[in-house]
Point group: C2
Chain length 418, copies 2
């Protein structure tokens, strides 16, 4: 089996001038990696004839599949289609099916159509027309001397639909691709190097054909297992067995697999147990509530929250004791605990979570510098708090508090609902 090499070409002045960030190439890379196609280069060029033609010629030398995004609008700036026709030496002709598709697209949206839009249904005679159901610029598939080309619009959701519906199913038909099985283990509450240390013996004993990658992000580390072979089911079984052996070493930190997020994992825990949640957020300012409520169906377990940004509201609304605030201050274990208890009582929820801290950049002191945060979790028969010592950066402190609060809930849930 030969390695299949891909090249991605993004076209558009707006990408070179930094008006738009090219997220397409990144997404395409991820999708190709999942099916064992190796991206060897990504190139971005502007709306310029010579630059586009030279990018085509260079890519053809290196790659088996060339994926092009952008430059397909109806205006004269958009050069991709005429230059592909020129590169492949064929005329642009009316494709009745494509004209019909763009016409009915405008009809469905109740929008006026111009002559320029009709021309979007005219395509190079040497391409295969690939319908774009969610936009006006069609996909175009070319084949020349064993190299395949796909041209797609730059609008991300249009490109993704063409990739999912056409390109990704097509590639295994035209190339012999390796069989690959992926699984991602999602962890929170532990840094990359600590995690690596916990699992180093297991990692060193992984067979040659199973690779491990550490993918860290804010407060999270993802472990990606990739197995290569010839039998999908066998690979899946092998990966599951490896997960079974590593899990006892790290289960405290694992909240899910693949597409699971920490907030969706918590949602499942609560929903399955019929338990409910309320939040008291001071320094995290509503961020945890926002995370929790991004999950569809969160109203089944989320009761609500209070953001008491000043001491008087911690007292009046949540019932934190005046003497606690006076003696140990708002950023303290006691206040965090009383806030968690108070919000649990206010909403009558099973779990009450709280955050209180100094997000910065101002408000720090020698005793409690910027980044000092207390979080707490209250529930039936337990009350736990943790101190965090975070960064100098306000936004980072808010985000890291968010992950820590959710992870504290996960730990409390698991310890108290077995």
């Amino acid at each position: 089996m030969q390695l299949v090499k891909a090249e991605i070409i993004a076209i558009g002045d707006e990408l070179l001038y930094g008006q738009i960030m090219d997220t397409n190439s990144h997404w395409i890379s991820q999708e190709l990696d999942l099916i064992g196609v190796k991206v060897v280069r990504k190139t971005t060029v502007g709306d310029n004839r010579n630059d586009i033609l030279s990018a085509f010629a260079e890519a053809e030398q290196r790659a088996d599949i060339i994926l092009i995004t952008g430059g397909l609008g109806p205006t004269q700036d958009d050069l991709t289609k005429p230059l592909l026709a020129e590169y492949f030496g064929c005329e642009i002709v009316e494709v009745p099916e494509a004209v019909e598709a763009v016409t009915s697209f405008f009809k469905r949206r109740g929008r006026e159509m111009t002559q320029l839009n009709i021309l979007q249904g005219h395509l190079p005679a040497c391409c295969t027309y690939v319908p774009n159901e969610v936009g006006t610029a069609p996909g175009m598939w070319f084949e020349k001397n064993g190299t395949y080309w796909m041209s797609m619009p730059g609008v991300p959701h249009e490109m993704k639909k063409l990739m999912r519906d056409f390109v990704l199913p097509k590639l295994p038909q035209v190339f012999e691709l390796p069989i690959i099985y992926h699984k991602m283990i999602k962890t929170a509450g532990i840094g990359e190097s600590w995690l690596a240390d916990l699992i180093k013996d297991w990692e060193n004993n992984l067979p040659e054909h199973i690779r491990l990658a550490y993918l860290p992000s804010l407060g999270h580390v993802k472990l990606r297992l990739t197995a290569f072979g010839t039998d999908q089911q066998k690979l899946a079984d092998e990966v599951e067995n490896q997960i079974t052996s590593v899990l006892p070493l790290i289960d405290k930190f694992v909240y899910g697999y693949d597409e699971e997020t920490l907030e969706s994992a918590i949602g499942k825990l609560l929903k399955n147990a019929g338990k409910s949640l309320a939040l008291a957020e001071s320094c995290s300012g509503g961020y945890v509530s926002h995370l929790v409520t991004t999950v569809p169906g969160s109203s089944a377990y989320f009761q609500g929250s209070v953001v008491p940004y000043h001491n008087q509201f911690k007292e009046n609304i949540l019932g934190v004791k005046a003497e606690t605030l006076q003696s140990v201050g708002a950023v303290s274990e006691e206040t965090a605990k009383e806030m968690a208890l108070g919000v649990r009582r206010l909403f009558g929820s099973d779990f009450g979570l709280a955050s209180t801290g100094i997000a910065g950049p101002d408000g720090g002191s020698e005793e409690k510098p910027v980044g000092t945060v207390w979080i707490a979790c209250a529930g039936e028969g337990f009350l736990e708090a943790r101190k965090l010592q975070l960064t100098q950066d306000r936004m980072l402190n808010i985000q890291l508090t968010g992950v820590s609060v959710l992870n504290l809930l996960r730990n409390c849930f698991n310890q108290n609902n077995k």
Copy 2:
């Protein structure tokens, strides 16, 4: 004056395989655009000798300044430094100043240093050493036949510091760059095509040397004015005059300029007027509170918020009338208004804002489909509400509600605090 052309080369397998998104190239593009350097191509290659060398050779043909990120780690995967030495035909030698910098970097952090780290202070003899104060891999500046090269680490904050401290000040010294003046007008509450329609006569009368770009993002449209010339102060005056003429046409929608965000603009309004704010968020689930509290110093005007995710809490905590909830439901003008009044009362704030709606994907009905949202603003002597008909997408509905709520506050503030 000649056009100065730049090329950006990002190096690293992790970029090609989609493990990390290359945000560096986008940021560099924006910065170069601001000083009138034209990016002609961006290239991403992996940790592969031939690919890197050919990217160097190709870039040299096209560009006057070549900016390279990544591939500077201490391990054997990282090829940028040896390949630059090879490309420019010089040895790698110990640079005592660079060894000293990396040694003291480790000392400051209290971390162990390995032989590999010491080698980070060994550099190609033909480069100018550029200190990296926030990391261990130094910057390297090369010059060959009138083309300039800069190699920087891939870690974004290290790259940005080297760009800001060294590259961006250096470029006007080695190239004759155009004089450019930029100003961004920030708007919310109006779509791109409506905005374009309002200002079309003004836009058509802009002089040749002042360009206008529309930069739309979720709920916002930015108008970027770019003036080219020879006298910075003259350009600034011309742009300010143009803004003075366009402003009466769109002032209702303009919340600020340049780095201002809607939430920071609102913060300034409130702080300067000595007014305070409280929020009642149902469908926006804490997102507006999060936006407001990302602004440093927001505790000066933000009192707090309540997220009453179920009707009983709208009633118990905010004092929405049971009969309102029963007769017209939670997603209604009346409920939104009573929530705004209630939260204003609870926190004793000058302004009370509220959101209530169906974020989706479930919970819609024929009468109130997914995306139906009511928002309200209460203040001394006024009470306003608006209905929004948003999308099918939960996340989008939350974000668009956030922008709309803040923009409603801005409008109410301006109408009632003149």
